[in-house]
Structures are given as C-alpha cells and as structure tokens.
C-alpha cells in the first residue's frame, strides 16, 4: 500500500466519527498549547525580571555594613559598631585606582527619609532624599531627564542644589520640566532645582521616582548630620570584572577597618550580577515547573488517543478481518492504525500551536509571554511521538488479530 493510500484510509477512518476525532484532537491540542503557552509565560517573566535588573546596572556593587549600620543621626551607635561604619574616606580609598583597579566609579550614599519638600503652597513628603556625588548617576543608571546633574564642584562647596525624581517633580510642579531653575524648600532650607531625573521602572515595592538627590556634603550640612554613610555604590569597570572588584572592595575595607580574621565580614556587598543570576535561576525553575504541569496535560491527551484508538479497533474488528481476507498484511493494518493515531495527535499539535500563537500575543497574569521557538518544535515532535507511542498498542492489537477471529467478531 502506498503512503497515499494509507493516508487516505486513515483519513476515512478519522472522518467516519467526526465528533470523537474532534474531541481527541482537542485533548492533544490543549496539551500542546499548554506546553507552548506556559513555557512562553515562564520565559516572559524571566525576561521581564532580567530587563528590570539590567536597568539597575549589572556591574553594580552596593556596600553596606551590618556592624555599624547606616547612621542618619549623630552618635547612634557604640564604639564597636562605629569601628565598622562606612566613611567618606572609605569611599575615597575605593576610588583609588592603585588600591582597587577594577573599580571604575564610587559614590558614597547617605539617605534621609521623610523630608518635606515645599514649592510655594504645594508640599510633598519625599520618600527618600539621597546625598551622593555625581558618580551615583552613572553607576546606578539614573540619568537626568531634563536640566543637568550637579557637579563635583557643587559637592565640594556644599551647594544647595537638588535633582528631583519624576514623582517628586510632578507633585510639586505638575509639569516636571518646568521645575528646572525653580527654588523649593526641603525642610527649612532653600534648594535650586538643577534637573529632573528620567523616569525609572520599579524594581521593588517603593516608587523609585519619589526621590530627590542632593550633593552629599549639602545633605550632611542641612539634613542628616555627619554620621556614617548608609552605603557606598561601587561600579566595576566591566560586567565580567564584578567579582574581582567585589573581592578588592572586601579586602580594602577589611584592611582599613582592621577587621580580625576570625570575625565574619561586617560588610555586606550586594552584587547585582548575582541577583540577576539568582532571579534567572528562579525564572528557569518556574519555567520548568510550568512546563511539567503542561507536559502532564499532554500525556493525558495522549492517553485520550490510546483510548479512542482502542475503541476504534474494537469497533472495526470486522473491517480488519475483511481487509485481512482481501490480502492485507500485518504491517499494512499496523500502518493504517498508527497513521490514524499519529494524524489525530499531529492535527491536535497543529491546532495547539495555532492557539498558543494567538494566546501568547496577550498579557497573561501581568506577564507578556515570550515564545520559545524550540518549544513549538518540541511540542509538535512530542505530539507526533505521543501518537506513535500511544497508538502503537491498539494498532498492534488490530494487526495481531487472526483473520477468522476478526471476521467472526460481531
């Protein structure tokens, strides 16, 4: 029997009971569709997290101390804690190319929360006022949208200049761009708005745009006092040198603060590349979990194929007997039923792929799915294999029937 004849016979078999074939196809297509869609959702959420983290800058190290803590107020900690407090000198030492060659930029950071900004009659409580140096803007990927950043000279001379986050600027001036050059009050002190920061995507629960940035010297003089730094932001020269930079920072700080070798390091260094890696691993686990659930539904679809083929073989036992009496060989019968089963699952696979292509165009549970091309090929291949595998048992049963037993079947 030629392939074309086999195909024709298989198609006639399938169309003989359209509703049954349709339901079986539906079972397989749900399985295949689920695999593709869920893998795309997992992939999409992984990509979204990655994009957000990359916006933060992947060659970024954030140094803070667990011993001293970031001091906002004067003299809040005892002498042991103060030993490990981060200072502006630490920041200067880290910026030294000789001591830490893999560090490209260093920005000391002090923060003050809950300050009230006022523009005439309008006031707004700024989430976080950051005192830092101009390096902060490049290191943390925080560009200035309109206006300009303050300069190192502003820091050196403690100028009362301020950069507003998008939310802060909007709250105070309605139109963020009009803020540049205006004077606002932060607490009781007048500040000239130098620029407005470009809008940032949220990486956590806090609005990253509800901020204001001032020179660190100004913040110490007017708001936070002269305590310890809350953190030092360190930028590595290259994405691949983040780990080297991290060990240089650790060594340098350990030496400067004379941390005993027996003690665990009081400095906590957050490596954004590590966070990225961790979240990518999490996303991969998530994707695998979703794919497993989907694969189970594909197997259930496959069992549907077996079930319907068993029914078909039983129903058509007499027909098998007739075919054998007319000279059909074992493998001809086997081929006919295998092709029927494979066609069922392949059609199901194609329908599933089509449905998945449509569904993944929309956001699902807040995630924009990103199709993984290999998952389409895999799902189609698996559905063909499902047909062959789950169809082979009924097909073998049909082919193995003795002609007289098949003919006598009622």
């Amino acid at each position: 029997m030629s392939p074309r004849d086999l195909m024709g016979a298989a198609l006639r078999g399938l169309t003989a009971n359209k509703l049954r074939s349709l339901l079986t196809v539906l079972g397989v297509s749900i399985g295949v569709g689920a695999v593709i869609v869920l893998v795309a959702v997992g992939n999409g959420s992984g990509k979204a997290v990655q994009a957000r983290l990359e916006a933060m800058g992947t060659n970024l190290l954030t140094v803070s101390t667990t011993g001293g803590g970031g001091g906002f107020q004067r003299g809040q900690a005892g002498p042991a804690a103060q030993q490990y407090s981060l200072t502006l000198d630490d920041s200067a030492a880290l910026a030294d190319k000789q001591l830490a060659p893999d560090v490209s930029a260093v920005a000391p950071v002090m923060t003050s929360s809950g300050a009230t900004a006022t523009n005439g009659d309008t006031s707004y409580t700024v989430n976080q006022v950051i005192g830092t140096t101009p390096e902060y803007m490049t290191a943390t990927n925080t560009p200035v949208g309109t206006g300009a950043s303050f300069t190192q000279q502003d820091v050196d001379t403690s100028q009362r200049v301020i950069l507003l986050g998008q939310t802060t600027a909007t709250e105070l001036f309605t139109r963020p761009a009009s803020a540049v050059g205006q004077t606002i009050k932060l607490g009781a002190v007048d500040f000239v708005v130098r620029g407005v920061l470009a809008s940032k995507d949220s990486t956590g629960f806090n609005d990253p745009n509800a901020t204001a940035i001032v020179p660190i010297s100004t913040l110490r003089a007017t708001q936070a006092g002269y305590g310890a730094l809350s953190q030092i932001v360190v930028q590595a020269v290259d994405k691949d040198r983040v780990d080297t930079a991290q060990s240089e920072v650790t060594q340098l700080l350990t030496a400067r603060h004379k941390v005993p070798a027996t003690e665990t390091s009081p400095f906590r260094i957050t490596n954004s590349a590590q966070i990225l890696q961790t979240s990518q691993d999490t996303a991969a686990t998530f994707t695998a979990l979703l794919a497993t659930v989907a694969a189970i539904s594909l197997v259930v679809g496959g069992i549907g194929v077996t079930n319907i083929m068993l029914v078909t073989v039983t129903e058509r036992t007499r027909e098998i007997g007739i075919r054998k009496a007319l000279g059909a060989r074992r493998r001809t019968i086997l081929g006919q039923f295998l092709i029927e089963a494979t066609l069922l699952s392949l059609i199901g696979g194609a329908v599933g792929v089509g449905a998945a292509l449509i569904v993944t165009r929309f956001q699902l549970a807040g995630v924009q799915p990103v199709l993984v091309p290999s998952s389409i090929g895999l799902a189609l291949g698996v559905s063909a294999a499902v047909g062959l595998f789950f169809g082979s048992m009924p097909a073998h049963r049909a082919a193995g029937l003795r002609p007289i037993d098949a003919l006598r079947h009622e």
Binding site: R12, R323, A325, G327, A328, R329, P403
Partner: protein
C-alpha cells in the same frame, strides 16, 4: 504427490477448546479439488462446512492434517505469505457481503488490488472492469448502505474477481438474497465456471447445490458423500 491438484487436504481435523468442552468441528477430512471444478459443499448448520471453507481460504489453520494449495504446504507459509495467498489466489464471497462500510463500491473493489501493490491507474481500470462485469458500472460511487442486498453481493463478487484469483470461495452467497438476486448471482457463477475458474460454494440450499458439477456432503465433521453430479 502424484498428479498435483490445485487443492489437496489430507486428514484435516479442527478442534475448538480443550478437554471435555472440546468441540470437534472437523474429524478428519480429505479432499482434492482440481483446477476448473465447480463444487458445492452441503451440510446442515454445525456440520463443519464453514470451518472447512475457512481452512481452505487460509483464514483459519487446521488442528491436525495437511493442506496443499497450488503445490505449497500452507502450514509452512509465514503470516505475510498467507496474506499474499489470500490476496492473489483466493476470492472470498460471504453470506453477509462483508463490504467495508462508508466506502464506495469502487473503493471496495479496489481494496484487494491496493494490497496487491498495483498502481493507482491500473487499480481503477481493473476495478471498473470488474464492476462492469457484474453489471454495476453505474453504481461505482455508491456506498454499501445505498445498494440493495443483491447489488451489494455483486459488488462483493466484483471485489473477489478483481485480482483475478484462481479460486472463488463462496460461503452461503445467496443466504441473504431474494430469488431474483439468487438467480443473478448463480448465473454469474456459471459464467465464471465457464471461464475456467475453480468455484467452491458452501450452501444448505439444494437448488444452489444443483448448479455445481460436484457435490460434497458434510455431516458431523466428516465427508459423508462426494459425487460428480453433472
């Protein structure tokens, strides 16, 4: 073997089941059929005549005994070779027609030709010729449920003839037909016999058996009479 017959069975028995519940359908049957014979096998129901036909048609295997078909020992043929014998040497005609449902008359007749690996065009030509021969040239596109019993049996005959087999095995071919259709079918058998085909008809009707040239009577699994009638 001396003069080689087309069909020769020797001391064939067929037992279904085992022990005390065993049913002896055939209890030692020997039969020779020469090419071109027209034989009727008669017997009441349960006499073993259908079992005999199934064994002759390679649809069933004897429990004991030998079966030589056209010079070869059927017991030694593989499953595929037996399928080949059924397809090429034997044409079956059944009491219940056994056409494939939901499939046109033409496709039904083409089926054995498909299994014999004929090309599409050749298949179509031969199937059409066979349907023409049984007078159904205008019914090629009809499905079995759109045909009368007599027409269905004629399609079945066309299908049995399509591969040009030497032997036609008919099991109660007129059992489900009215008198007019019975006449038509038997007339066809006469023509086929005249063409030189070997025909074995299983029946319990005397007027059907009367058309054959030789009458074999089976009772209780044994051949009780074997005579040339015409």
């Amino acid at each position: 073997m001396a003069a080689e017959s087309l069909i020769e069975i020797r001391d064939v028995t067929k037992t279904y089941g085992q022990g005390e519940t065993a049913v002896h359908a055939l209890r030692g049957v020997s039969l020779r059929v020469e090419a071109g014979e027209y034989i009727a096998v008669m017997g009441s129901s349960g006499s073993g005549k259908s079992t005999l036909m199934n064994i002759l048609g390679c649809l069933d295997v004897p429990t004991r005994g030998e079966y030589w078909l056209d010079g070869s020992d059927v017991a030694r043929l593989s499953e595929d070779q037996q399928a080949l014998v059924r397809g090429r040497k034997i044409g079956f005609i059944f009491q219940s027609f056994n056409l494939i449902p939901r499939t046109t008359a033409l496709a039904n007749v083409e089926l054995p030709l498909t299994y014999a690996h004929l090309r599409r065009g050749e298949r179509r030509k031969r199937a059409n010729r066979a349907l023409e021969l049984v007078g159904l040239a205008d019914r090629t596109g009809h499905r079995p449920n759109e045909l009368s019993g007599g027409q269905q049996q004629r399609v079945a005959i066309a299908r049995a003839l399509a591969t040009g087999p030497r032997i036609l095995l008919a099991d109660e071919p007129t059992g489900n037909l009215d008198a007019h259709s019975t006449d038509e079918v038997l007339g066809m058998f006469d023509d086929l016999h005249a063409d030189g085909r070997t025909i074995i008809v299983i029946t319990h009707e005397h007027d059907v058996a009367a058309r054959a040239r030789r009458l074999v009577q089976v009772s209780d699994g044994r051949i009780v009479a074997d005579e040339v009638t015409r």
